[in-house]
């Protein structure tokens, strides 16, 4: 993984000291809140319902055991013993004191981490496929390019005060595990006919109150033009983005209002000025960054095949976990392990300090010191020998981290909702917990198969409800919580925005509604191989409307 050079160390350390001074001046009263607020936000410090919240960046979701231990240490020393992993592959702490935040940032800097650009109208943490560098279907590792984008975008003077926040995601495989089509810029790493590396470029995707699927404006952008082209997009956006209206300020609105063709023309015109000049990426630089992400030296462990087969035969729970949470690695003797942070009835995305330490220990002992955070709020160990899976599983069981539900109905994306968030209108976590408990049995989940539920507590859609196969949006109606259901959303290579199915449901009725939807699917699917999403796309919303609303739906 990437290691800081002297410049990085000096830069991050100087930012910590700047913030230490700013916090001291705020606490002494020298700085007023209006002056301080943008400064704290630039350092990832929000004010939420109960306390401050600190969002720490985990670039493209990659970290090592030393960094994970630091995250555990911060949870233990400065917070309430836990952290919450987010859909930008970051971590949030819910209870830090403002007066402690400079020390927290200083401790983070000691392990090459920071909280820069985790808030504000700037380019946020660049996300990437959590299986990068390990997936069998990968064309190339997207992380070197994500790292190049991180370096380029960090305190970029031209792009630190954009019309609105800006999110970039990169995937290196045909199967999109990074949700690139719901990002401001989505980059799909691919090879052309000549075997050269480049990107398909998508622009103007996003969720929030106006969900949009990104439009492809370039089928193949040579890798050396990555920064020139990205700069061109940002310049067009910076110039024409709707600064007059916060709700229309994201690039998706600009793309929509301008038209894809015209927007692409403007980007290409700007790109023509930039191409081949100072932003051209030298091959040597790409190679230098790529070296940091060189695949680990994986020794052959063919004994794992027989060991794994034997262990699975002896322990059905282990076999189920391997089936659900371990995916094939590009090396046949290894697997990619998903550590679910969705225990049945638990808080999605949360991990305690003890659990984080345990993951760090496992990564160090069994997974070549590599850990990933997924945008689906789980943890991944990308390189685990099949021969070590049983040992890893046993430690995970002891830590309550062995839930075998990756990709199943209880593996939900869930925002913090009204239990924490100052913007939320309704709770998300208790709704997720009730659904998780209702569908918690392993047999029932296996019978249902792949089904992604995503829950947001307000229209800002941090819980990605628009792209949930079943999406739940919490709203406040007449002072009470109500949950609107959308169906048919998806955030993969065939991205779609879910359709609102009808009137909303009260908190005590929403789990029953989800169950009716699931039962309807089970009743109409052509076979067990037809997933919920495939079935929905085949039959449309009507059978589900009929099941939920009966005669009323037919009349409508």
């Amino acid at each position: 993984m990437y290691r800081y050079d002297e410049f990085d160390h000096a830069f991050v350390s100087s930012r910590v000291e700047q913030f230490r001074d700013q916090v001291a001046r705020r606490l002494s009263g020298e700085l007023a809140e209006d002056a301080f607020k943008p400064l704290r936000l630039m350092n990832g410090v929000y004010l939420q319902l109960h306390a401050y919240m600190l969002r720490v960046a985990i670039p493209y979701g990659t970290l090592n055991s030393r960094q994970m231990r630091m995250l555990a240490h911060i949870a233990r020393k400065y917070d309430r013993g836990y952290g919450h992993f987010t859909t930008r592959q970051n971590i949030q702490y819910n209870w830090p004191k403002l007066s402690d935040t400079p020390d927290i940032l200083s401790e983070l800097a000691s392990v090459e981490m920071h909280a820069l650009q985790t808030s504000g109208n700037c380019i946020r943490n660049v996300t990437a496929d959590h299986f990068a560098g390990a997936a069998a279907d990968e064309v190339a590792d997207p992380r070197p390019y994500a790292e190049i984008l991180r370096q380029w975008s960090s305190v970029h003077p031209e792009f630190s005060f954009l019309p609105r926040k800006f999110k970039i995601a990169v995937t290196g495989a045909e199967r999109d595990r990074a949700a690139i089509q719901v990002h401001d810029i989505g980059l799909h790493l691919k090879k052309n006919d000549k075997g050269e590396i480049g990107f398909a470029v998508y622009v103007g995707g996003g969720q929030g109150r106006t969900p949009m699927i990104a439009k492809k404006i370039r089928d193949f952008l040579p890798e050396q033009d990555l920064l020139s082209y990205t700069t061109a997009i940002l310049r067009v956006y910076n110039l024409h983005g709707r600064r007059d209206n916060k709700y229309k300020a994201r690039i998706k609105i600009l793309v929509h209002e301008t038209g894809t063709e015209e927007l692409a023309r403007q980007v290409e015109a700007e790109f023509a000025h930039l191409q081949g000049a100072e932003l051209k990426l030298p091959e040597a630089d790409i190679e230098a960054i790529s070296t940091y992400f060189a695949p680990p030296a994986l020794v052959a462990r063919p004994e794992g095949w027989a060991q794994l087969a034997g262990a699975k035969k002896a322990d059905a729970s282990f076999a189920q976990w391997v089936h659900q949470n371990v995916e094939p690695h590009k090396h046949p003797d290894y697997g990619m392990v998903t550590i679910s942070l969705k225990p049945i009835g638990g808080v999605p995305g949360d991990a305690t300090d003890v659990q984080m330490d345990a993951v760090a220990d496992i990564a160090e002992q069994y997974a070549l010191d590599e850990i990933r955070i997924t945008h689906e709020q789980n943890i991944v160990l990308p390189h685990v020998a099949l021969a070590d899976l049983e040992a890893v599983y046993k430690v995970l069981v002891a830590q309550g981290l062995a839930t075998a539900n990756a990709g199943l109905i209880t593996d939900m994306i869930v925002c913090p909702g009204l239990d924490y968030c100052a913007l939320a209108n309704a709770r998300s976590i208790p709704v997720a917990q009730a659904i998780s408990q209702r569908f918690g049995s392993a047999e029932r989940q296996a019978e249902i198969g792949e089904l992604k539920i995503k829950i947001s507590g307000c229209i800002n859609a941090c819980g990605h409800h628009h792209v949930g196969h079943i999406g739940l949006l919490g709203v406040e109606k007449k002072g009470a919580e109500l949950y609107q259901i959308t169906l048919g959303g998806s955030a993969d290579e065939h991205t779609s925005i879910g359709e609102i199915i009808g009137r909303g449901f009260e908190p005590e009725k929403v789990t029953d509604a989800v169950e009716k939807i699931v039962d309807t699917y089970l009743g109409l699917r052509l076979s067990k191989d037809e997933t919920f999403l495939q079935a929905y796309r085949r039959v449309g919303p009507q059978p589900f409307k009929d099941a939920l609303y009966g005669e009323a739906a037919q009349a409508a």
């Binding site: 705020r26 606490l27 009263g29 007023a32 809140e33 004010l47 939420q48 319902l49 109960h50 306390a51 401050y52 309430r80 013993g81 836990y82 830090p96 004191k97 403002l98 007066s99 808080v347 949360d350 305690t352 009204l418 239990d419 924490y420 939320a424 209108n425 709770r427 976590i429 208790p430 917990q433 406040e476 002072g479 009470a480 919580e481």
Partner: protein, 104 residues
């Protein structure tokens, strides 16, 4: 007019607080001073402005409450959760909010 209390977040640690009868910012909603008429609400707002300017608190707001069996209860769910904490088990050693208090 609904009864009102003055709430904010403490500057140093961000913890939600309410103004009590002694003029201090208190972590317990039940210690809050309840304003029952317009003049009292205006006085609360003035204190809020003063203590915001004095850098004691941030995000100062007057919120509607009712008194039920001697307990102060914010009318909005958001404010009930702010007062009582997350509504589910979230961390070892910390209790979730009382469901009876949170209920609509």
């Amino acid at each position: 007019m609904a009864d009102k209390v003055l709430t904010a977040n403490r500057l140093t640690d961000g913890i939600a607080v309410w103004l009590d009868a002694s003029g201090a910012w208190n972590e317990a909603l039940q210690s809050a001073l309840v304003a029952r008429h317009t003049e009292a609400v205006a006085a609360l707002e003035e204190i809020g402005k003063r203590d915001f300017s004095a850098n004691l608190v941030v995000d100062v707001n007057v919120v509607d409450v009712e008194e039920v069996n001697g307990l102060i209860r914010p009318l909005r769910l958001r404010e009930r959760i702010r007062a009582a904490g997350p509504t589910m088990d979230y961390a070892p050693g910390y209790k979730p909010a009382d469901p009876a208090f949170i209920a609509a």
